[in-house]
């Protein structure tokens, strides 16, 4: 017998995450964490086929989030397409009702979400540059020749973290190389790097925000124990990393789908068969005005199913997801 579930998908710049929630208790049944590696569609298909292979599922609703949420939404036939902030906040609230602060550090962006009494009251994201995010840690780990998975463990062993400039990752890198050439050991350098990133995060993203307990740290970087420790010592309080920290966005998307489908209707999910379809997207330039918008056609098995990228909106279609977002809004209002 197939088990009723909600499917949540978070296609981010670095990772593609899928979570299945039990339709009854909304607990995580299955989850997959995949590296996007620049191919959001392919990684989404792979992640889905893995999930599909793990059991018999009856999908009641689908939610998509992450920076490729529109793409994922079209491919999946998602019921809800939502931004990452709302998704992360919902997921954290689901795990811990009393949460007042969410620190989320992903591959390309970092966020801080402030909640009071279970409602988001403020949020911040890193501004124009991607300094202090997971991809920087990735790069530095690769440069030092250590797997990213071991980064945190080694950083924890650092007794005397060296001071590394944290304002900009380019500065941080040159400072780090300098310290390394002076002969500081690896553990101290990595611990210093964590401290610098936390300092950078709190000064930029956390500027002027009131960070209160209970604090939840999620996103891919939460796997790094060194980062958690650095946050704890900088904030002087305990920082919780939830069990499914790496797929919280996907959990949030599934929760949104559950919320959306409570009132109504059948899901518009295209089914797991989409993993067998072939997607060949095409880019083209619109030449109708000097904006020269870059358009993308989403092609499924030789047929264009959606298209977007124009500023004026005339070339955008197949995006009833957007109107679904709007109706989700109005549903919330009523």
């Amino acid at each position: 017998m197939s088990r009723p579930v909600y499917l949540g998908v978070d296609v981010g710049s670095v990772s593609t995450n899928v979570a299945l929630l039990d339709a009854e208790c909304l607990k995580v049944v299955e989850k997959v964490y995949f590296r996007t590696q620049g191919q959001p569609i392919l990684s989404l298909q792979r992640a889905l086929s893995q999930i599909a292979g793990r059991g018999q599922w009856q999908v009641l609703g689908v939610g998509a989030t992450g920076s490729a949420r529109r793409l994922a939404g079209v491919i999946l036939g998602a019921d809800v397409v939502k931004n990452e902030i709302t998704a992360h906040a919902l997921a954290a609230l689901h795990v811990e009702k009393a949460v007042q602060t969410i620190i989320e550090i992903g591959g390309q962006d970092s966020k801080l979400i402030i909640l009071r009494n279970g409602v988001v009251t403020d949020f911040a994201m890193n501004t124009v540059c991607a300094a202090g995010t997971g991809s920087f840690l990735d790069q530095q780990a690769a440069r030092l020749g250590i797997p990213i998975e071991e980064f945190g463990e080694i950083a924890l062993k650092g007794r005397h973290p060296v001071r590394i400039a944290g304002r900009c990752t380019v500065f941080a890198e040159s400072d780090m190389i300098h310290k390394q050439q002076l002969g500081h050991n690896l553990a101290d350098i990595l611990a210093g790097l964590c401290d610098a990133m936390v300092r950078n995060y709190l000064n930029n993203v956390g500027k002027g925000k009131e960070i209160r307990e209970k604090i939840i740290f999620q996103g891919g970087v939460a796997a790094n124990k060194g980062m958690r420790k650095a946050f704890e010592s900088a904030l002087g309080t305990e920082v919780t990393v939830p069990e499914h920290y790496d797929v919280m966005g996907a959990i949030g998307a599934a929760l949104l789908a559950a919320e959306h489908l409570q009132s109504s209707k059948r899901t518009s999910f295209h089914g797991f068969t989409i993993t067998e379809s072939v997607y060949q997207n095409q880019s083209r330039d619109c030449r109708d005005c000097p904006n020269n918008c870059e358009l993308v056609d989403i092609v499924k098995d030789g047929e264009v199913i959606a298209s977007w990228g124009s500023r004026c909106g005339k070339a955008d279609w197949g995006l009833d997801q957007i109107s679904r977002e709007a109706s989700a809004f109005s549903a919330m209002m009523s």
Binding site: K82, N83, E84, V120, T121, D122, S330
Partner: protein
């Protein structure tokens, strides 16, 4: 004579006046088209690195006009437009920036407009400018009409604002004040259409231009020292006025803007004190819109979900912040 006016910076504030003034003097006006990627690229190429985005956009428009074959360009050297106030120092140097950054630049019409000591300074500079084209009695007439047209346009914005019912009484949709320099807000390309996106999401959008000068002045009284940047004064005053009347405030600022770095922070502090949700969007040369969209969308979620949870009462009242 064909006079070119770049569709950037103070075009967004004084165009009604300029249009009338030059038309009355029998001159042909050519305004550059709305900002496009091409214009932005052009401006970015021409500008030195340290300039802010709006000035780069301005340079792009100037180049666009130069290619259209105008006889001269109207690039005023504006020092001050209101008594005892200044505008951004970069604008004061605008004619020099244009001359130095662009090769083959058409001749510039760059009168010094300095109203620091009152409106007399402004009137004199327009009269002086106009006397290049027509006898003085005609210029005086043209200036009167131009100033009247400017006032009429400003008033009609205020009237429209008052005609809408008191924002708080509106149950459907959100009321959001969008604050920032007019040349950012109303440039559809640079602002990534934030205002229109909010309108599409059924929000009532209010801006600082809809408020009377007196209202702004009154709501700036709390400052210990006068804000002497005209644009900053308007933004801050509007933030104070609107904070009691709207669901949320969105600030648009351009990266590396000197005056914004201060006013936006003051607005942020005020919002935090009064418990009004505040979203700051900094704009730069990015053309990808996802970042802006995500933030706007999340901000609307914050406001709407907050309303839902608190039974249509704002979730950000004092009590929320008390332990």
């Amino acid at each position: 004579m064909k006079i070119g006016i770049p569709r950037a910076l103070y075009y967004y504030r004084f165009y009604p006046m300029w249009r009338t003034f030059f038309a009355e003097l029998g001159q042909e006006l050519i305004v550059s088209g709305p900002t496009t990627k091409e214009i932005l690229d052009c401006g970015v190429k021409a500008a030195p690195d340290g300039l802010c985005l709006p000035v780069k956009v301005y340079l792009g428009h100037v180049r666009n006009l130069a290619a259209k074959g105008v006889d001269c360009l109207f690039v005023p050297h504006i020092v001050s437009v209101e008594k005892q106030e200044y505008i951004c120092p970069k604008f004061m140097g605008l004619p020099d920036i244009v001359r130095n950054c662009l090769d083959h630049c058409p001749p510039l019409l760059s009168p010094t407009i300095d109203g620091r000591k009152g409106s007399r300074g402004i009137i004199c500079s327009y009269l002086k400018l106009g006397s290049c084209f027509a006898p003085i009695h005609k210029v005086i007439h043209a200036y009167r009409l131009a100033a009247a047209e400017q006032r009429r346009c400003e008033r009609s914005l205020i009237k429209e604002h008052n005609a809408r019912q008191h924002p708080c009484t509106q149950k459907v949709g959100l009321t959001i004040a969008v604050l920032g320099h007019e040349y950012l807000l109303h440039d559809e390309f640079v602002s990534m259409g934030v205002i229109n996106r909010l309108r599409q999401a059924e929000c009532l959008v209010l801006t600082a231009e809809e408020l009377m000068t007196d209202t702004i002045a009154e709501h700036n009284r709390f400052l210990r020292k006068r804000m002497y940047w005209t644009s900053g004064k308007r933004i801050l005053g509007a933030a104070h006025y609107y904070s009691a009347k709207v669901d949320g405030i969105v600030s648009l600022m351009s990266f590396a803007c000197g005056t914004d770095s201060m006013t936006t922070d003051l607005v942020d502090r005020h919002c935090r004190r009064s418990g009004i949700p505040h979203l700051v969007i900094s704009l730069d040369e990015h053309t990808g819109q996802t970042g802006v969209l995500t933030r706007v969308e999340a901000f609307l979620d914050l406001l709407r979900r907050g309303r839902k949870h608190e039974d249509h009462l704002p979730p950000y009242g004092e009590s929320v912040y008390c332990d």
